[in-house]
Symmetry: C2
Subunit: 188 residues, 2 copies
Amino acid sequence: MSTTKDFEPVPPWQVLSETTLVEQRWLTVREQHVRLANGHEIERFHLLGGPSWSAVLCVTEAGQVPLVRQYRHGMAGTSLELPAGVIDAEEQPIAAARRELREETGFESAHIEALATLVPEPARNTARAHFFFARGGRRVAGQSLDGSEELSVVVVPAHELFELIEQGHIVHGSHIAAILLAARRGLF
Amino acid sequence: MSTTKDFEPVPPWQVLSETTLVEQRWLTVREQHVRLANGHEIERFHLLGGPSWSAVLCVTEAGQVPLVRQYRHGMAGTSLELPAGVIDAEEQPIAAARRELREETGFESAHIEALATLVPEPARNTARAHFFFARGGRRVAGQSLDGSEELSVVVVPAHELFELIEQGHIVHGSHIAAILLAARRGLF
């Protein structure tokens, strides 16, 4: 058994050839023939790509958190999540977080800071998830959605987030990670 | 603005037609023409599928946790993760967790319990991630890997998991969620 305590980077795979199977705005699929550092080859590895996204945990002065609730076709069910969305071309992750917060919930905050950058599917998806924490949030407008977004805003006391996770209302892995990280840091 | 506190399920999308773009063992991509409950149609939604997976947070009597460290081609970097792997056909999630723990780290545990079932990408991927907590783990063997698995075992004190997350060594969103959930429940 190899056991190592150091954190030197592991050598990357070598891409020997590549075919693009899907090339769409929200998704790319590349079939790659790759060689591992140990010499082993995988003839058909599928590398997924698509825009990275931002999400924001926003707490109001009164300790309330706006969440969004919507049907999620991947899980074929209803999901309660932090406001989130993909980062537009040439947009900064923090700008996307502010924009999505405003569009999806009508909330704004003057105080927003980076919380964590996580990787939802490190094995085969290039996308990153950028999480932000906003304090002093307040509702300044209604939602501003396009027709493909069908979601309702649910405002909950911050301390209820843990129950919502334990009860299975919040199931999005990376969103749960961000909420619990913020709690561990004493941010709410 | 719609604000609702109830947790009735939201109506699902209707699939009007579907074309399979990729149909492989580890990945399916279906291009669907869908209709939302509000009547809006999305002509090319890409639904991803693939095997669900299990992962296990195993703590020894001495408070040590075996992790695995490997190059992850999606993130194009080195990732420190819980032992994890896809669930074989007709295999139960808990059996996959035990098997992956044994194969990837050489550890076993007689006491393993469900921790949480999370959804890594609810919007468009059908896969679930089943997390387990194992107590009283012990090293009984070496690793048992196939050539496509190139990973090293890193055994850390459980209390160091938080530092490893904060330092960006552990970045897998759902894995972080599971570790922090277990900590919140006082499991370690």
